[in-house]
């Protein structure tokens, strides 16, 4: 599903480029990227997601070159094949919870299937929030809705950037379980980027990023 090769990224004005280990994930794989701040883990996630263009190296997604596409093509490919959970949940504020999910589906090229959306929300214990305004949700609910949004269109790869850093132990468990279950259900690969050492024991595969790597 995902393959990276020799990825390097040099920020403007930085002396050296960040170099990243190669990643290889198949459908259904789980991988935890652990790193303290400054190790470039968010940079790596953004490179994988095609939100940044690597200085060197390449990203291959579903067997096709991804990092070589132009901006608009990358946006569309990302929307179709990836679901991203960001550290802070953000939504299109003018739309309801259900409409945000429908938007994710339609941007990915799927029909805004109401049954799928309602079913998913039910599963996440948010069935009653279908028509709620997104600013009316609690922080925990927001994080769950953003997970729903990341999986609602059935992507092959789910990326999560520090999904648990703002949560207590109980919620961390809940969110991680949710992510893994959803990935398993859809057969997607799950890549979690975090500095949260609590996750280390909970996921089988992990790669540590070092500042010097």
């Amino acid at each position: 599903m995902l393959k990276t090769q020799g990825l390097r990224y040099q920020y403007a004005g930085a002396d050296t480029a960040l170099a990243f280990p190669d990643l290889h994930m198949d459908k259904g794989d789980e991988l935890l990227l652990l790193g303290a701040s400054g190790t470039g883990k968010t940079t790596l996630l953004h490179l994988v997601a095609g939100m940044r263009t690597p200085t060197a190296g390449s990203v291959t997604l579903a067997g096709a070159p991804f990092s070589a596409l132009n901006t608009a093509q990358r946006d569309q490919t990302r929307g179709k094949h990836m679901g991203i959970v960001f550290q802070t949940a953000h939504f299109v504020r003018s739309l309801t919870v259900g409409e945000n999910l429908a938007l994710a589906r339609s941007l990915a090229g799927c029909s805004p299937d109401a049954a799928v959306i309602e079913g998913l929300l039910q599963e996440l214990g948010l069935g009653h929030k279908l028509n709620a305004r997104v600013d009316a949700l609690s922080v925990g609910e927001q994080q769950r809705v953003s997970i729903a949004r990341a999986v609602v269109h059935g992507p092959g790869l789910i990326l999560a950037d520090e999904p648990t850093s703002a949560l207590d132990d109980a919620n961390t468990d809940a969110v991680l379980t949710l992510l893994r279950n959803q990935a398993k259900r859809t057969g997607a690969a799950l890549l979690v980027v975090t500095h949260d050492q609590r996750l280390k024991d909970r996921m089988s595969q992990h790669v540590e990023l070092n500042p010097t790597s």
Binding site: H46, Q73, K80, T88, E99, L103, R149
Partner: protein, 390 residues
Amino acid sequence: MKAARLARRNVLHRPLETGLSVLLLAFGVGIISLMLLMQRSLTEDLDRNIKDIDLVLGAKGSPLQLILANVYHVDVPTGNIALADARKIMRHPYIEEAIPLAYGDNYELFRIVGTEPSYPAHYNAEIAEGKMFEAAFEVVIGQEVAAATGLNIGDTFYSAHGLTDGTDVHRDKAYTVVGTFDRTGAVIDQLILTPIASVWGVHEDVEDADEEITAVLLKKKNPLAILTLPNLLRDTPMQVALPAIEMNRLTQQFGIGLQTLRAVALLIMGLSFISVFIALFASLRDRRYELALLRTMGAPPRRLFALVLFEGLWMTVAGIAAGLLLSRLGVMALGQVLEDRFHYEVTQLVPVPGEFVLAAAALLVGAVAAGIPARSALRIDISNTLGQGR
């Protein structure tokens, strides 16, 4: 979800900013559109009443007043002229048609005008019911008069002296309604027409001088009439005035006020576009994360451009629509006032060509005002924007 639909949701999500922009544009468009409608209505009305009247013969005085009194029936006449003197002009070889008018009285402030059947014929006023006046003290009334006074065929009434007062009533001779005219859209709708002899009859006791009339509406046979007639009248108490020229002068006087109003309206429209521009820019700063998010969800930059552009266009279209609606409400309100006070009807609600130009121009400027913020949405760096989100 289509960009246009999301754009609508987004602008409705910011009711205050959207409301201000729409309101400003609605007022700008509304004032200009109102002016266009009134101008159209006025011009049509003025032209309809001038209809082929090239010259008006009457007593010396203000030529504009002569026109207003005898063509539009809104001002007091300049005075009377002797019928015998007027006949010399009416029979001049350069004149094709001459319609004499004699004023004196009113009934419930509707003017009673002594004339000949050629006067209603000139305005194509057909008899709706009853017959044309023949004998003295027979009258045919316009539609507005019939509606306002409730006079029916066979009813009789006494006239009140002068044009603007209903107190001094002539009790000696009663007028009899013998017919009503169809609606013409011209001033005839507001008049009570009777043979000239009735007017003379009423005032017999007041003055028994020679027979007098108020004015003669003239249609020229030869263009030289316009040059020749004033010379003929130089040493008489009479004058001829040209309706087209006098009304032109009048509308030019209006023009200064209208230009000021138009400038104010354009200023308001300008402000509304700045307001659209600022509303979008401010909302973009506020929504950078949201727009970046749309990109990560699969919306390419051009879709964000379309989204912001649609948001601006949505406000512009709402403003234009509200403005055009506002101007029509304005026409109806003003029309009521004008009708109550001056018996002047304004019914122009159909779009005039100028409004299409106005709407198209507003849409274009709205697109430009939205296009600049929309361009900045193209340049959002999603990685940096989402990276700042912590």
